[in-house]
């Protein structure tokens, strides 16, 4: 289970986002809904350890992460978190297999790659370079890379952002089908996908922007 306490992120332009305390339970899927720029992606990056909060704490199974070094965050991310990015973050000049094999550098077992690619319907693309794939295919590769290590936490940032609704719906369905016992937190601005998830959070109500003196006063 992941919980946040007094979480606050401050940006270089002086603005800050303060989040209400949140709680994500194991085995459940969450949809973070909200307009663009409401702090959804920032929350995901904080949870992934990509960004470091200015204040507050993120606890994983009761353990605080506030004292973690970047190295510890990297280690936790590779071991327990599967990240799916809106712009895929794939090595475009490498093949689908290479992108997944990249995880072997950190000792991740990728022996289930063929089966996973088959389930996602992209096994035939295994030897194809990523730059030759369509947006939907790339998104499936990104999902495969996230799921291959059977992560405890899957963080998906707008996984359907570049796809039409039908394809996006299929991608979300595949994510949920393959998440196993892990927790899935998905950022989306498409509320038509909301019924697919166990819980839906309205980020407009959860994330609070602070500007100028308000932000400075807390700094």
């Amino acid at each position: 289970m992941i919980t946040t306490q007094d979480l606050r992120m401050r940006f270089s332009d002086g603005t800050a986002i303060r989040y209400d305390d949140l709680r994500f339970e194991d085995g459940k899927s969450y949809a973070l809904l909200g307009a663009s720029g409401c702090g959804k992606t920032t929350l995901l990056n904080l949870l992934a350890g990509i960004l470091i909060p200015a204040e507050g704490d993120i606890q994983i199974d009761g353990q605080s992460t506030s004292g973690w070094t970047q190295k510890a965050r990297d280690a936790y991310r590779i071991a327990h978190i599967g990240c799916i990015f809106q712009d895929f973050k794939l090595l475009e000049e490498m093949t689908v297999a290479d992108n997944i094999n990249l995880l072997r550098l950190e000792g991740v077992d990728v022996s289930g790659m063929d089966a996973l690619l088959d389930r996602l319907g992209i096994l035939r693309l295994k030897r194809r370079r990523v730059r030759r794939l369509s947006g939907g295919e790339k998104q499936r590769v990104a999902i495969a890379r996230a799921l291959i290590k059977r992560p405890a936490l899957i963080l998906a940032d707008e996984p359907t952002g570049n796809l039409n609704f039908e394809t996006g719906e299929a991608v979300v369905a595949q994510l949920i089908e393959n998440m196993g016992s892990g927790t899935l937190i998905t950022v989306t601005h498409d509320d038509r996908l909301a019924p697919r998830f166990n819980c839906v959070m309205d980020m407009n109500a959860v994330a609070h922007f602070e500007f100028g003196r308000e932000a400075d006063a807390r700094a």
């Binding site: 280690a75 090595l91 490498m94 290479d98 950190e106």
Partner: protein
């Protein structure tokens, strides 16, 4: 890790090839410049060390030294063979070796001498010549013209192999010299009596040998009286030689000989060490210029290669950021890029060495015509240092870049 590094390199092969080419060309030029200048200097020093005096007809000291030491240039003219006998009977010399040159076999000069000239040159096969019309060929001559003991060669009048052939007087090859990496590899050696015999024979056949520009003594002819020289047949005829290579018994003997022959206007007595040192000073100046040019090229390329490497790393920032985002540690990323650049550096260093050796082989013939035979397989310690610098140059910018990236506290999402 290695497999992934190779795959990653394959995706950037155009950039890598351009970078490697830049490094290879620079390093090859540096290696060649150092190798050639060092081998030429060593060749000159080693050759000059054997004799402390050369006596020939009056003329250019450099020409006399280059002709007798490296078989280049044309002889100054002739002196009587009796000079050799006088020297041997003087008690002032350990060795007085006759030297005559003027004919050729293809491009290889025919050197008339005696076996003492080759005393320290081991034979690869066969035996030393024992009488007139026998010859020992240098290693490169034998290899180039596929010659072996027992074969016969027809020499030509004059240097350069373009003169009239002595078809009626072939030389019998009795031996082949082992490789010396000196001018001896590119010459044919025969008793001085062979030269006399060839020209006696020729004189019988021809009343006058007009218009032979490469005749022995042609240099002097051009300076003195061309027509008179031909009329007088100013070359190594019976009883004449082009020079005497002398090893004196000591400094006093050398001084006396120097006084005797130095004061006679018909002769020129030189110390090859002194003359060649002057030549070397010129070579040294050239070498310094080459080094300076190489240094300039190296510095410029150092800059270019560093910029290319940094730009490559800049391009790789997205890739590195991506890897960090999915959790690959900076330690692994560092190692991945170091492997890639080390492989590129090693390949560049190896190819630089290979290319420089190929170039050495290519210009070997040209340098050999100047009397120095380059050993393309020879690698000096300084060359290893240059190659090490090339290798480090390939790694350092990457190491610095990845180190700087790893020190950043936050990741780029």
């Amino acid at each position: 890790m290695l497999r992934f590094a190779l795959k990653s390199m394959a995706t950037r092969k155009a950039k890598l090839v351009m970078t490697a080419l830049s490094v290879i060309i620079t390093a090859s030029v540096a290696l060649m410049a150092y190798n050639i200048s060092t081998q030429v200097s060593e060749g000159i020093v080693n050759t000059a060390a054997k004799y402390d005096m050369i006596i020939g007809p009056s003329g250019s000291a450099t020409q006399l030294a280059m002709n007798t030491m490296f078989f280049t240039d044309k002889p100054l003219g002739t002196i009587p063979y009796s000079v050799v006998e006088d020297l041997q009977n003087s008690g002032l010399v350990n060795q007085a070796i006759p030297f005559s040159m003027g004919d050729s076999y293809n491009a290889a000069p025919i050197v008339g001498t005696d076996a003492a000239l080759l005393a320290d040159k081991p034979l690869k096969s066969g035996a030393m010549f024992a009488q007139a019309m026998e010859a020992v060929v240098g290693y490169d001559v034998a290899r180039q013209y596929n010659l072996a003991p027992g074969d016969s060669i027809v020499t030509s009048h004059g240097l350069g192999g373009s003169g009239e052939a002595h078809a009626a007087s072939p030389l019998l090859i009795t031996g082949v010299l082992a490789r010396t990496n000196t001018a001896y590899d590119t010459a044919v050696f025969t008793p001085v009596s062979t030269i006399w015999a060839l020209h006696d024979h020729e004189d019988e056949d021809h009343d006058a040998d007009q218009g032979d520009a490469e005749y022995p003594g042609a240099a002097q002819e051009s300076e003195d009286d061309h027509a008179d020289a031909h009329d007088d047949h100013d070359h190594a005829e019976q009883g004449e030689i082009c020079a005497v290579l002398v090893r004196s018994t000591g400094f006093n003997a050398w001084s006396r000989l120097s006084a005797i022959y130095g004061s006679d206007s018909n002769y020129l007595a030189i110390n090859p060490n002194t003359v060649l040192r002057e030549v070397m000073d010129n070579v040294d100046l050239s070498r310094r210029i080459v080094y300076i040019l190489c240094a300039v090229i190296l510095v410029m390329n150092l800059f270019v290669v560093s910029v290319i490497a940094l730009l490559n790393m800049y391009d790789s920032r997205r890739e590195i950021a991506l890897m960090r985002l999915i959790g690959i540690s900076m330690k692994k990323i560092n190692r991945l890029y170091l492997i890639q650049n080390a492989l590129a550096g090693l390949a560049a260093a190896a190819l630089s060495l290979g290319l420089s050796r190929l170039c050495l082989l290519a210009i070997r013939q040209f340098v050999a015509s100047m009397g120095i035979v380059l050993d393309a397989s020879r690698v000096y310690p300084m060359e290893w240092i240059i190659l090490l610098a090339v290798f480090l140059l390939s790694i350092l910018p990457t190491a610095i870049c990845t180190h700087r990236m790893s020190r950043r506290a936050t990741l780029e999402a």
